[in-house]
Amino acid sequence: MGNHQTENLNQSLVAFGSDVDQIIRSSESLNCWSNALQAHGLASLVSEIFIDIYASIHFSLCGLYKYADMALRSALENTLNVAYFHGHPVEYSWWQKGSEWYLTNKQPHPWGDGYNYFQLLASELPGNRGENTIEKELSAEYRALSKSIHSTSLKLQTKGLKLAPTVDIARFKQWSERMNRVLSLINSVLVLALQDKFGKMTKPDTKLISEVILDEHKRLLQPIKM
């Protein structure tokens, strides 16, 4: 199996090298957040987001597209955790000790049910007209990635005839587009929740983050200067 995976890896790098280079460059935006959060202690969670992204890239290059999506969903969840815990240090200390207090409140996540918390953050931006756009984006992306975790028929790893992972151009391109959207959302959520940190970053760092965020997500963050 090791040789097969190595073959897939090499084949993917030859076929999709420039896509991977661009994704790696975009993932370097996480360095900016890790740097900004050193004093806060949440930097370790940013490293967790990085590893999720790294794992997703690796799975995808090996032809394991379903697992690549699973890793992306983990990256998104960890981002929402960072955004929430930044404003909730007490809950963060509970979470670090392994507590799942939110389950006793019948909430699936530390930040509550759905993405209302992040919509409330967005509603505080001057000029926000109360449209639930960040909520819709997060919900749509999370739902799409969850299809891989819940093994819906169209997202099975073994869709098609082959059991062994195989490099598939269409599936790679689908994953690549999703990765870019998720990286854009990760940075958008962090800009929204950590505006003070973003405002203090150097110009090269804010430029890198701004380049990763898609135009459709930049509109959700107005009037934050990108």
């Binding site: 993932s27 370097e28 996480l30 360095n31 740097n35 050193q38 004093a39």
Partner: protein, 242 residues
Amino acid sequence: MLKRQAEDYKSQLTEKFWLPKVQKYAKLLRPRLRDKHLKILTLTSDDNYCETLRFIEHRLTSKDEIFLWTYDHHKRMRLEAERFQVLPTAKYEDTIINSSQVISSHFPFEILNLDFFAQDPTTEEGRVELEIESVEATVRLQKMKQTESLKGFVTIYTTLFDGNAVDVGKLANRLNSYHVDGWAGIDGSAYPGSVKTMKEKVNVIERLLADISKKYGYEVAGCNHVTPTEIISIVMAVRKLG
């Protein structure tokens, strides 16, 4: 271009400058030991960490005693794959100035290789001033974590030379904000207001590093510099006073 320069500069600097100077000053720090076992912090890059290998080869340290630093997650993974200990992923200058508690447990070190050139520097204004301030914060932490056995240490400061002037007046004010009882502060009038040429920058930086060392109770045992193309590299050894 900068990456290619990085590959070239590191090997040459290590062989012709860093290694001979560290070997010389290591005799001050550990005069009796053949294997020096120096504890080293080095800001390095994932594609060329030759200084660590040469220091180990020359029995100045071992892999257990070297701590690497990089600002990038991908680079950190590559260095960890080589079984090195790598400290938090962040910019060194920001961490040591604003959140030193994150790394203070690892101090003190005997060799501090603050190679900012290896950290893919940009050419922003204020960059060198921030780096020098980070050297002050480093020496301050060294002093706070001083042990009986630490006779002194060697600081290697390496940076990119660019066209921006260094605002010495502003820098002196920043350094003077690090208060030490009995220290009157850097006399800004003894320095030019700003410096731009390679020679001016080297001169000012060496004087500031010496001032910083004295501020924290160290005397300068030796100071040397080289200036290969677009790079300033200074090695300063200090001895504990008293």
